[in-house]
Symmetry: C3
Subunit: 265 residues, 3 copies
Amino acid sequence: MESMSDIIGKISKNVRIYKNVKIGKDVTIGDNTIIYENVEIGDNCYIGPNCILGEPLAIFYREKDYRNPPLKIGKNSIIRSDCILYAGSMFGERFETGHRVTIRENSTFGEQCRVGTLSDIQGYVIVGNYCRFHSNVHIGQTSIIKDYVWLFPYVVLTNDPHPPSDCIQGPTVEEYAVIATGAIIMPKVKIGRESLVGAQALVNKDVPPCTVVAGVPAKVLCSIYDIKCKEGTLEKPYPWRNHYTKGYPWEVKSENRLLQQGKCK
Amino acid sequence: MESMSDIIGKISKNVRIYKNVKIGKDVTIGDNTIIYENVEIGDNCYIGPNCILGEPLAIFYREKDYRNPPLKIGKNSIIRSDCILYAGSMFGERFETGHRVTIRENSTFGEQCRVGTLSDIQGYVIVGNYCRFHSNVHIGQTSIIKDYVWLFPYVVLTNDPHPPSDCIQGPTVEEYAVIATGAIIMPKVKIGRESLVGAQALVNKDVPPCTVVAGVPAKVLCSIYDIKCKEGTLEKPYPWRNHYTKGYPWEVKSENRLLQQGKCK
Amino acid sequence: MESMSDIIGKISKNVRIYKNVKIGKDVTIGDNTIIYENVEIGDNCYIGPNCILGEPLAIFYREKDYRNPPLKIGKNSIIRSDCILYAGSMFGERFETGHRVTIRENSTFGEQCRVGTLSDIQGYVIVGNYCRFHSNVHIGQTSIIKDYVWLFPYVVLTNDPHPPSDCIQGPTVEEYAVIATGAIIMPKVKIGRESLVGAQALVNKDVPPCTVVAGVPAKVLCSIYDIKCKEGTLEKPYPWRNHYTKGYPWEVKSENRLLQQGKCK
């Protein structure tokens, strides 16, 4: 019987690899994964079982001379099982996913981004560095998401002001913004730097920087600096980057963290 | 090394096909796909990898004499990877899906319908022709959806007025209606022809034809004829079929499209 | 050609089983399923194709001496295709899932629970007996769900009062409570016994027992005893356990059911 450590750094069974695929050093490829043409995987990546990398674009089914655009996955990335990454997208180093993530073509992710289970990125999106998308986030085409943004479960960025039309234009989410569970951002809307969108909100107007909005449709509630900690344990919950440093470039070493952020039971 | 064009029109590796399956001419079946008993696939279909066709009904686990009802997929259909289509449903020609779609038993889809990634059709639904469901749409049992309907991401059609009960009755969505992202339609509600339901709405009353509703709970905002184009590029965004013709029987040839619909940057 | 009955009680093809796995009597394992170390499957279980049991925790990717915690699945369970159950969780007898369910580590489910297609249980949750989760339910870490609870599609239990923070604390849902489609429950909130949360609600305060709430944010509407049947067929729709007995310990035999609950067309 096999041990789990036996699979690390190896290509497992029933894997299909098409031509012109480049696989770096010490890469793990799980059972049943399919890697289509023109995929490049950086060193030390872990690709889970049942993944599809380089999924062909819609024109593959119509055009005889179809050529699969390149997919690049940066080194030290972890792609968990059952993910589908289309051809034509690029992912920076230390990219990490949950399971069953779908990311379509012509998207760019910076370094150290994480995308949660069941998220559905529709393609033609630009995502900065150190972004964290929780489970089941849906990003419409042409959305722009800058560095250090958090999107929580079931957040949707829409892009069609008069559905159905051809006039799509996705929202822009500025640095450090946080969008809570189930919020929907309407087309072209800009969410300002450091702002906080409440759960279940419907945001149909631009949100200024450092502003809290909530409701259907969303209204301005206050400044993020006005928010008090419900637990009484954090002096100021926002800007969140002052107390939440885990995995960020400004990470505080563990012995100092509790001191920095108060005691959080 | 293989080329992607090599798989077209062939049955790939590690495919399991049970007895009494009919596969038309020039059908592609991707790696690891499972086709249970009594499935019929029309000519020139593409079935992606990791699909399950003819998934057995719940009684399979209890009844020794279980017989799988037939599943029919019309010709020229594209079923992308990781889809699960239950036994007992029928799909017209040129049916097309995204990935990870689940469609349960005793459902009927007309011709040229599209169902997006992660959509979950609960069975016993009737869908007309040329319907477009975007990602992650959930359709409760006994719903009726007529021709040319658009459902956007995370739209839910519910069916139980007093959950949990046995009195289920799904909504009816009339021709050309559009339901925007995240709207929930309550049981038995009828959405009128050409009407538009706003994002994040909760619709608990019938919507008359050609009417815009929004909010939680949804209220009537105006007629669809009153909507002006936010971009100033379309004279009238609604009825949408006057300017959006792509893939429809009334399609306008490409050289006339920009003229018809105004310049849309 | 094979018959579907041929697979029952057998281990199918392309299954990978790692060391120290215990499989009971008359267990079915579908094609392509992966079972990692230290998984225990009770007698008479059905595990569908393409499942992953004992998925390793995040530290697997960092720690050389990683040891997979045990996963236990009680006897007579049905795990449908494409499910991912992490190591370190426990499921009581007659556990049943839809497809593509993800359940992370350190969760405990009682007996006879059901979890619908696409549901995403984030780990560290405690679920009682006879709970029913419909499709696409998302349960944040540290949530507590007591016996006989119903969660409908797209219900989310959140756990971070100041996202992102380390202060997570999930909601508690008391016995017999029902949460309708698309409702979001905020961190730490307690949903009282027998209560009913309306569709699309945002619940940010505790809900007393036997109470109906709805809206964004949710407000108290009435007692559950005040709800009248919209169809005129049930004398009192709530408490639901008085008329809906299917599959529960207080099940009424079928010849008496119609009598008990009125005629429900």
